[in-house]
């Protein structure tokens, strides 16, 4: 179980308070969606959960199975099963996509006391998942995200998620910038990963995505707070009437 308790976050660089007391409980197997206007702090929340430097926790706690993860470095949180699909995946020139993913997977296996996969074993699993997600091998030979189209970058995030098999997946606007076909593919990937012990926090602007990935809960976030929680119908309401009526 993943729990956010009365979380308050400052961005150190500008000494600006962005998250103003968020409470959220996510049980294994659940899918939660967060919607909200631009600048409401959705990405800030995703970085804070994954432990990025520069996000100062003024108050509150983040717990995984009842234990605080605030003292864990980002790589430790990742190895414990927290995965963030980035809103803007980062390019790393000269680092092969395939070898990056293998390094990541083996680092996590090592952390969890498992044997590292040799290249042949890795390649076998990679091929399977890449086929399923329609990622062609050509993309895996290229440097990580360098020159990838928007859609390719997002699919590559989902591929990494599928390989790393996290327990708690945060998707930050994975749908933005995607056409309908690409969105369907990404959704197919996410749905295939849904399971009893894996949960999702899906940040999105558009109700559209939630037609493909059915959430259990929808939260509306504004000014660093969750202002309303409901079921999938809440997303339809937002789609229909916008946020303004909720903000008042």
């Amino acid at each position: 179980m993943f729990e956010i308790k009365d979380l308050h976050v400052n961005i150190s660089e500008v000494e600006k308070k962005i998250i103003n007391g968020i409470n959220l409980k996510i049980n294994p197997g659940e899918v939660h969606a967060i919607m909200g206007p631009n600048g409401s702090g959705k990405s800030t929340l995703s970085y804070t959960l994954s432990g990025k430097e520069g996000y100062e926790i003024e108050k509150g706690d983040i717990e995984l199975d009842g234990e605080s993860i605030l003292d864990d470095e980002p790589d430790e949180r990742a190895a414990k099963g927290i995965f963030l699909a980035f809103q803007y995946p980062i390019e790393i020139p000269g680092v092969g996509n395939l070898s990056f993913i293998r390094t990541a997977l083996n680092s996590q296996r090592k952390f969890n006391g498992k044997d590292e996969l040799n290249p042949a074993e890795f390649l076998k699993i990679l091929r399977e998942k890449a086929d399923y997600l329609n990622v062609d091998m050509e993309m895996l030979k290229r440097p990580l995200n360098v020159g990838f189209s928007g859609g390719e970058k997002k699919r590559n995030e989902i591929l990494q998620m599928a390989l790393l098999e996290p327990r708690f997946c945060i998707l930050d606007e994975t749908d933005s910038g995607l056409d309908v076909d690409a969105m369907k593919q990404v959704s197919k990937g996410v749905n295939s990963l849904r399971s009893e012990d894996r949960s999702f926090l899906i940040i999105t602007h558009y109700q559209r995505l939630l037609d493909y990935i059915k959430p259990d809960f929808v939260h509306i976030m504004a000014k660093g707070k969750i202002i309303k929680t409901g079921g999938p119908e809440l997303a339809l309401e937002v789609e229909d009437q916008g946020y303004t009526h909720l903000l008042n």
């Binding site: 990025k52 430097e53 470095e73 980062i90 680092v95 990056f100 390094t103 990541a104």
Partner: protein, 507 residues
């Protein structure tokens, strides 16, 4: 099949990380070998020059050549234009000749070499036995279709060559690969014809010094039309204290021949600075091609800047023949001070010069390095790719000259200089000189300076890669283009070095 190949190459990063981890300490070549040495008296004089020549049993012409250089050197001044700051070198307070006593009589075969010496090379991972060298880059699980490669080695210990492997096999093809002291005796005509024709004795302070006192080094001659079937390499090891190393390498690729040559260097950790002043001359005749790679890992000094090698090296290639080609690749991770500009004189029409460089400076290291491309022939091409990485309090300067002469019609140069800074106490400088005197010729220059990017780092961490590994990954990515220019056998070693020499520089 093609995917398997990709995997082998692609797997480097993971291998690097594993190897770096297993190393633990930062300079693993810092041990000393306890061995009985014979020294010439400290200091430099005409007598010392004569003594070195006599020790090598040299003919008179060689001695006179040295003495002329010496006479010139005493009238010269140390250059002060590089962006380097180091304590003056006391040329009278060092040894110019040091030789293991057991090598008094040159061993006929490696069986006769003193065990302590052989152990030194074994510890350094240098194959002195004529064994097939298993390509380091390919991991064992997928090398089934890769043949083990042979690498012939000339090992130079302090002032003298210990031995050269695969000599017989090479001789069958007419290839000469031996120490330069042997070459002076056995192939005087070849040596006389080419020595000092690329780097004249008057060239610069350190080259002139080298011309007077060089004690050994390697000599290579590839006959017309021969493609050398194995990598040739020289491994330089400074062991003795307060001893300068002055080796001299001469490589001649006759018409339509090809050779790939690699040099590696290490030295023990010592508190005092040691001088290394080498000269390398390459001659490429018509349609010949020379690939010269360096993995320079002399002791850099400790984290407070104590000790380390002063590395003042003159390397130059003469692309004398039409359509000849020389490619310099260097991975410079060691030395307290590096002053080095491997250059190409593109004399032959349509000749080509390439320079690929990674220079890393950490702690108090200083590097002033780059290249000179002198376009004299028509249709000549040059390409420069320089990657400078600075960390700690280090200073890293790229200094390059591209000179296109009036007669070098339709010539081209492309230069790319990228600098990466780690932390905010280090510096990167780019000093390109470009002179184009021919209207039909073009030069292109691109330069970037960047910091190691927090977002890149976080992306790696978020995937479960720890900080140290993430930095190694990003840096190796930054250098990829240059690392790929190295022979496969050495790419892995170079990757490890890149990571090790930056250990502890982030965070």
């Amino acid at each position: 099949m093609s995917e398997l190949k990709l995997e082998a190459k692609d797997g480097i990063d993971q291998e690097t990380i594993n190897s770096v981890k297993s190393l633990g300490e930062s300079y693993k070549y810092g041990f000393t070998t306890d061995i009985d040495m014979e020294y010439a008296p400290k200091g430099l004089s005409e007598e010392i020059v004569k003594l070195i020549s006599k020790k090598n049993d040299e003919p008179d012409w060689m001695l006179n050549w040295r003495l002329e250089a010496y006479k010139r050197w005493v009238k010269m001044d140390e250059p002060n234009w590089p962006m380097l700051n180091y304590k003056g070198i006391d040329y009278d307070d060092q040894y110019y000749y040091a030789k293991p006593k057991s090598l008094e009589k040159k061993p006929k075969s490696l069986d006769e070499v003193e065990p302590a010496l052989l152990e030194t090379y074994a510890k350094l991972g240098i194959p002195l036995k004529e064994q097939e060298f298993l390509a380091g880059v390919i991991s064992p699980e997928n090398n089934k279709d890769t043949k083990p490669k042979k690498v012939a080695v000339d090992a130079v210990f302090d002032s003298v060559s210990v031995g050269t492997t695969f000599k017989d096999e090479l001789e069958k093809l007419g290839i000469i690969f031996c120490s330069i002291s042997e070459a002076i005796k056995l192939y005087p005509d070849l040596v006389k014809k080419y020595i000092g024709t690329v780097v004249p004795r008057s060239d610069n302070y350190f080259a002139t010094l080298n011309s007077a006192v060089f004690s050994d080094g390697s000599f290579v001659y590839i006959p017309e039309g021969v493609k050398c079937p194995m990598e040739l390499s020289t491994y330089f090891r400074i062991n003795a204290e307060n001893t300068g190393q002055f080796e001299r390498t001469l490589i001649i690729a006759d018409k339509k021949s090809y050779v790939s040559y690699l040099e590696g260097c290490t030295a023990p950790m010592r508190d005092t600075h040691q001088l290394h002043a080498a000269v390398v001359e390459l001659v490429a005749l018509d349609e010949a091609s020379i690939k010269y790679s360096t993995v320079q890992n002399w002791y850099p000094g400790d984290e407070n800047g104590k000790g380390g090698i002063y590395n003042f090296v003159t390397k130059r290639a003469d692309c004398r023949g039409a359509n000849s080609k020389v490619m310099w690749t260097q991975i410079e991770t060691g030395s307290a001070v590096t002053w080095k500009y491997p250059s190409c004189i593109l004399r032959g029409d349509n000749s080509q010069g390439e320079f690929y460089s990674v220079a890393i400076a950490n702690n108090y290291q200083q590097a002033d390095t780059g290249t000179k491309m002198i376009h004299l022939g028509k249709g000549t091409r040059s390409r420069i790719v320089s990657k400078g990485i600075s960390a700690g309090k280090a200073q890293n300067t790229y200094r390059g000259l591209v000179n296109i002469h009036p007669k070098a019609a339709n010539s081209r140069n492309f230069t790319q200089c990228d600098s990466l800074l780690i932390g905010n106490k280090c510096g990167a400088h780019t000093v390109p000189y470009i002179e184009n005197k021919n209207n039909s010729s073009r030069t292109e220059h691109e330069a970037t300076t960047s910091k190691i990017d927090d977002d890149q780092l976080f992306y790696c961490l978020q995937r479960g890669i720890n900080e140290e590994d993430a930095v190694a990954l990003i840096i190796n990515g930054f250098c990829k283009e240059v690392l790929q220019a190295l022979p496969m056998e050495f790419a892995l070693e170079a990757q490890k070095l890149v990571a090790i020499s930056l250990e502890g520089s982030v965070g």
